[in-house]
């Protein structure tokens, strides 16, 4: 089963950008440079990056096998983004009642926002 040439190129390009973005953030989290030091969190982002990368070749070849990896990557990106969003909101609640300082936004939330257009596009392609 094949997808269109144009669609496959767009998906592959977006997946490359996503893979690079996640890889960079993963390295920063593992090393603790500039952002919160979180080894396991960094490793999780590294896994997401690898999944995006794994699907690029087959997406260019217009195979649904390639798209599978991009979908898998999107799901994980959204899971982590939504999870940290909830944690952020809980932190705001604690701040509101004066029990803690204002929470910082985890970069996973921004990455998930960056992935959202890709999620919408792939939904349209599959449909």
């Amino acid at each position: 089963m094949k997808i269109g040439v144009r669609e496959s190129r767009i998906l592959a390009s977006y997946a490359v950008m996503a893979a690079i973005a996640y890889l960079v953030v993963a390295i920063l989290e593992i090393t603790g440079i500039k952002i919160t030091h979180d080894i396991f969190g960094g490793l999780a982002l590294f896994v997401i990056s690898a999944i995006y990368l794994a699907g690029i070749k087959e997406t260019i070849e217009r195979s649904y096998k390639g798209i599978s990896f991009i979908i898998g990557g999107i799901i994980l990106s959204l899971i982590f983004g939504i999870m940290y969003l909830f944690i952020f909101l809980a932190g705001i609640l604690e701040y509101a009642i004066g029990e803690a300082s204002f929470p910082s936004i985890r970069i996973e939330i921004i990455l998930a926002l960056f992935i959202t257009p890709l999620a919408y596009y792939i939904y349209r392609v599959i449909k």
Partner: protein, 655 residues
């Protein structure tokens, strides 16, 4: 003419619907002697022939792994029905043909019903039915059990099959295996004892090392010779399974003209069950679940903690009787507070696990981990028991009942206490939250306890398998549910169902322990100056008695008292901390532990003893001997691992 017809097939292939279509309202349900598994018997008059139709339990193979499979197999081999109708899910030929090939080896008079034909059609699959008939040597009929499509043709095929024998087709398992089969068949044919068994099927079963068949050849004078020949094929069960799947692959190549299009589920499975990415994805998702458990719930726990501290202060300032004020503040309010403060993380954990379960992922996690589990001598179903153990070890241990092999079941039960149950979570959260200031590091520390538990369970399973039990676990087969977008309302209901025990059972227990510990730490009242000078209390006497065993780890006597109460239930540890420390367990923990000694203490709590309730269930499930072994190994392992953590930490310059 009268004939006996058996219906057989994998679970969920529409077998019962087809059975009902043929038998109408004339069926009745009867029990097999000695077992609880039901069989359905119905009658049908087809074209002047009276057919007695027996609906056998759903089975994936004819290897006697479970009682269901044994029943189905014995019926085919021993009762020798006139016709066996093998019902196949047309959309999953590969898995279903495994049973078909096994059936054909028994020389049974088989008719294949390709059921769910409409779904296969809608998925764009094109199956060459004539070619399949030719390759299998048996009639093949397409059916749609729900609508009744093809049922008349099936009746015709059954009646026709009762009047003649099928064409015999044998598939080659490869030169080496075929040579062994031939030699075995020669010996089998010499023994009168086996005259009722199909010789080729029996030979294959001996190569597979089928336990029931091996028992059957025990009394044969050719036993040693048979086993010697069969032993030439190493790991016979796997070899036969692999080659049977190769044969199936070739059949599918010829009959499946157009494969089904990739569904969304297939795409997800391609990634989540991937041989390389499957396990990292599983670990990433587990990390997300535990990070959510710890970090999302923390603000709520802090708020509850602050509320009860405030109430405690009010009680102390407004009750004139010092003993009563201490009881209300340090026993009752600290007790209730130490229960409620852990409701957010425990409910969050159950909510996250429920989302994973409802989405259909958790069953996939079992499949992914089976690859590792099988290598280390555990059964794939052990993972389900282990994952359930994250909630509570008791249902985890009970879940092991689904494991057919007794040895595998005992190993799974014995390692389950190493799964970090939710009662241990409050201990980790309390200690990690205090000794590691950064919440991400604290979350990682909590997660590492779960990983440590899994790692130790794997090591112990290896040791138990090698030195105590031996043997190999059987192949893991599981029906994968459909992927679904999890419903928040379902997850919330699951969360409440699973989490309410904490408030009721553990909550009551923690509360009682908190009161006992308050008494032990405040009395003799005068000697402790109203619970202020705990060094003079009964709790200190108990703690100092335990302290020598814990001194090498740098843990204070208070930690020993908590471990003592933890023997009864792990939940009691936090209750003890709360009562010994007064209103602020966090401040006390900060003075009792360094990051290194605190982390080692967390590991000790993870490993050191199954709780009393778990012990009772273990006794019932695996008996005294193995329960005693479990107690011994968990205590020894706790000292070894906690010691190693501290030694490595000191070597790295930590304090």
């Amino acid at each position: 003419m009268k004939a006996k017809v058996a219906f057989i097939g994998n679970p969920n292939v529409g077998k019962t619907e087809l059975f009902n279509r043929l038998t109408g309202q004339h069926q009745h349900v009867g029990n097999w002697p000695g077992v609880t598994v039901e069989k359905k018997v119905g009658r049908c008059v087809c074209y002047g022939n009276e057919l007695e139709i027996v609906d056998l339990p759903g089975t994936y193979s004819l290897t006697a792994y479970s009682i269901d499979e044994l029943i189905a197999r014995n019926f085919i081999i021993e009762e020798k029905p006139d016709v066996v109708v093998d019902i196949i899910d047309s959309t999953n030929l590969e898995r279903n043909l495994y049973l078909t090939l096994s059936l054909l080896e028994t020389d049974a008079n088989v008719v294949v019903a390709l059921n769910m034909w409409d779904i296969a059609r809608n998925k764009g699959m094109e199956i060459d039915v004539k070619k399949l008939e030719e390759l299998l040597g048996v009639p093949v009929v397409t059916t749609v059990a729900i609508t009744g499509e093809g049922v008349e043709k099936l009746k015709e095929a059954i009646v026709k099959a009762t009047k003649g024998k099928r064409r015999k087709i044998e598939w080659s398992y490869g030169k080496d295996v075929e040579e062994v089969i031939r030699e075995l068949q020669e010996i089998i044919s010499k023994d009168e004892k086996f005259k009722d068994y199909p010789s080729r099927w029996l030979a294959i079963k001996i190569i597979e090392g089928d336990e029931e068949i091996i028992k059957k050849i025990e009394g044969s004078k050719y036993k040693d010779e048979l086993l010697k020949i069969a032993s030439r094929i190493k790991d016979g069960e796997t070899v036969i399974a692999e080659r049977r799947y190769k044969i199936i692959g070739k059949i599918i190549e010829e009959v499946l003209k157009k494969e089904e299009e990739w569904s969304f589920s297939d795409m997800l499975d391609h990634v989540f069950l991937h041989p390389i990415f499957g396990i990292p994805i599983f670990l990433a998702l587990m990390y997300a679940a535990f990070q959510f458990t710890f970090s999302f719930s923390q603000p709520f726990s802090d708020m509850i903690n602050a509320f009860f501290s405030w109430l405690g202060e009010i009680a102390k300032n407004n009750i004139s009787n010092a003993m009563m004020a201490s009881f209300i503040s340090d026993a009752v309010l600290a007790g209730v507070g130490s229960v409620l403060v852990f409701v957010p993380p425990i409910f969050s954990l159950f909510f996250a696990l429920s989302l994973l379960e409802n989405s259909g992922y958790l069953a996939r996690a079992a499949v992914v981990m089976d690859r590792v589990m099988h290598k280390i001598g555990l059964h794939g179903k052990s993972i389900i028991s282990m994952i359930m153990g994250f909630g509570c070890n008791i249902p985890g241990i009970l879940a092991a009942r689904t494991i057919e092999n007794k040895r595998d079941r005992i190993i799974t039960v014995m390692i389950n206490p190493l799964m970090s149950c939710s009662a241990r979570l409050p201990v980790y959260i309390l200690i990690a939250g205090v000794i590691f200031k950064n919440s991400a590091i604290a979350g990682a520390a909590v997660f590492s306890m779960y990983l440590l538990g899994i790692a130790l369970a794997i090591i112990m399973a290896l040791i138990l398998r090698k030195f105590l039990f031996g043997g190999e676990p059987p192949t893991f087969i599981i029906e994968l549910p459909r992927y679904m977008f999890p419903k928040i309302s379902n997850a919330a209901r699951d969360m409440w169902e699973k989490g309410k025990w904490f408030i009721i059972k553990a909550g009551t227990f923690i509360f009682i322990v908190a009161i006992i510990v308050w008494f032990l730490s405040s009395f003799p009242w005068n000697a402790t100056h109203g619970g202020v000078d705990i060094e003079n209390s009964y709790a200190a006497v108990l703690g100092h008695a335990i302290e020598p065993a814990l001194r090498p780890f740098g843990w204070r006597w208070q930690a020993g008292v908590a471990l003592f109460f933890g023997f009864l239930a792990k939940e009691a540890i936090v209750g003890t901390f709360g009562a010994l420390a007064g209103e602020s367990a966090s401040v006390a923990v900060a003075t009792w532990f360094t990051p290194l000694t605190g982390f080692a203490y967390m590991a000790f709590v993870l490993i050191y003893f199954p709780c009393a309730a778990t012990l009772v269930v273990m006794l019932r499930e695996i008996g005294k001997k193995y329960t005693l072994i479990t107690i011994t190994y968990t205590i020894s392992l706790a000292f070894i691992i906690a010691g190693l953590i501290e030694l490595i930490g000191y070597a790295m310059g930590m304090t």
